[in-house]
Symmetry: C2
Subunit: 347 residues, 2 copies
């Protein structure tokens, strides 16, 4: 009993091959399973000595509560589900988001299950499945729309969730979002300070709330700065890289072309640059460009290209922390955060 050195890495002490359960500890300490269970979960009505004995024994045998047992008894899954959007506008978005979540649940009981979506539509099927089968304690969804049906469904069911992106629902829900308005504003200001008089903004996917926010902020900013601001109709951007490249070519050839471009997607930025270069333009001469950066792809190729960073890794962590607090019962309206664009790329 006086042993203290055997830190259960792997399954050091205890029976070989057999997993430690409450019973193991119960037999080891001479206490009942109920007491052990209670003690491990911080029962208040226990003798100090008992708690110590249990804690020691648990450590010695490397006890970890069986997930199936807990889940069956309590309904708690200790799982959070990420509904992974099908699109890939933001390069490396999925990986960073997952890494961010992973870091946030590290060392906790929680596991992450990922459910990929195969189309970018705010489809309700996946969420309904999770709801019907109680397959997670909470859900993270991304790329929300103003009246996102998934959000509606989750709110109706009063199920813990957090969205990456805001909505326009009156009822409050937990979210974390990139401050797109700040992005649009800062981008416009920077271009203006470089002398630009006519800005063009490319924004895709008008189904997201983000789209609306960014457009509004852009118009405000250009109005305030007293310069011309044009939005590139998102319908024209649906067609994929080729069309955007063509757009870049058109712009390069136009006499009355904008002298500053803002782009909210790395994929589109790449295609656009391709087109501009096809048209004989060089970056930073003839037209200024600034884009929303989510990966270190573009700097690899264009180190001097100006950008504003959205840190998806950190966002993943923040979303997770919010969700866990939501699962623990905190009120949704206290779980809403915006991140300003980061000044620098994460090292």
């Amino acid at each position: 009993m006086a042993g203290g050195k055997d830190k259960g890495s792997g399954n050091g002490a205890g029976a070989i091959g057999q997993r430690a359960t409450l019973r193991t500890i119960s037999e080891l300490t001479g206490l009942s399973q109920s007491t052990v269970s209670l003690s491990l979960r911080g029962g208040t009505a226990l003798k100090e000595e008992t708690r110590r004995k249990v804690a020691e024994a648990a450590k010695a045998v490397g006890y970890v509560p069986d997930r199936a047992g807990v889940r069956l008894r309590t309904g708690k899954t200790n799982v959070i589900a990420l509904v992974l959007d099908g699109g890939d506008d933001s390069i490396d978005f999925a990986r960073q988001m997952i890494q961010g979540i992973g870091q946030a649940i590290r060392g906790s009981r929680y596991h992450l299950t990922v459910i990929p979506e195969f189309v970018r539509t705010q489809s309700v099927e996946t969420v309904r499945y999770i709801l019907d089968n109680r397959t997670a304690d909470g859900v993270i969804i991304t790329h929300t729309g103003p009246r996102d049906r998934r959000v509606q469904l989750l709110m109706d069911a009063n199920f813990p969730f957090v969205s990456h992106g805001r909505t326009e629902f009156f009822t409050q829900h937990a979210y974390h979002d990139f401050h797109s308005e700040a992005f649009a504003t800062v981008a416009a200001e920077r271009l203006a300070s470089k002398g630009c008089k006519h800005l063009l903004m490319l924004v895709g996917d008008d189904s997201t709330t983000n789209h609306h926010n960014i457009v509004t902020a852009f118009h405000h900013a250009t109005a305030r700065l007293g310069i011309v601001g044009t939005i590139m109709d998102s319908a024209a951007l649906r067609g994929g890289p080729d069309e955007i490249r063509q757009l870049g070519l058109d712009i390069a050839r136009r006499a009355d072309r904008p002298d500053g471009i803002i782009c909210d997607s790395e994929m589109r930025t790449l295609a656009l640059i391709g087109g501009l270069q096809d048209g004989g333009l060089k970056l930073g001469q003839g037209v200024e460009l600034i884009y929303k950066q989510t990966s270190d792809i573009l700097p690899t190729l264009f180190p001097r290209l100006d950008s504003i960073v959205e840190d998806v890794f950190t966002a993943g962590g923040e979303l997770t922390r919010l969700l866990l607090r939501r699962i623990n019962g905190e009120a949704p309206e206290t779980l809403q955060t915006l991140f300003e664009p980061s000044p620098r790329w994460r090292s």
Copy 2:
């Protein structure tokens, strides 16, 4: 439906809110829970009529077996775990892998949990955790090394797994791998057919089996073709984009520079192109380039750049199918596949 002999407990079919269990069906059909369970799992010793009745009732109430119950009783988790490598050499690798896995388990009982690794080292911690806690029925690992310790651990424990990448162990295990040798060979041949006499190959991460395979095949190919083949020491490639860019610049300025370059990573290809362009070279003139393509990033910018495609999405699906067969007891040595480089990018 015939025979409504329910005990009048007053919970109609499809009762709101309450999940259907075996008990529900049992009460509905008048059969015992054992029979229902047996029937649903295809018991052979049952009357045809019984099976039909059970099946109908199950469908009517939308029965789905409770995961926790099954898991507790049988130990089967119906989960497959993806250990997600920390690196990001292959742009979009994680997303495509996950999508591929997702498609393969679609409609099945299986869920996917993702465990991100934060360093690219074949670290054994994650796998040990899964093993100790029986947290999944099978594991997918990627970026294997010749004597990968994770593989060793999994084989020792006789735990179902499949690796994306081969190893050099004598004992056989399930794997699926990109045919790097074919990549190296085809790439060399294509460059040779364009008249190149001196090839340079950039391969990163010499800790993977892949590295070894590709180098060997490259040397064979250049020898056979009667041209010069140089390998860029991977140590020099560790430093990140800046150093590779510098390398590109150096190459561009050298008089005796190689006239054909093969690159196995999109990130490095980008950095290299940056350097070559800094040095005043234009793509396809002065030096030919061919790279291993895993995303549609580069074609967006350089549509005419030659590439050989590794289809990670399909690989994810294949890995999953192999793993599921392994979980079902098929022998490892029958579960080994290689994919030839795809002729075209997936549409």
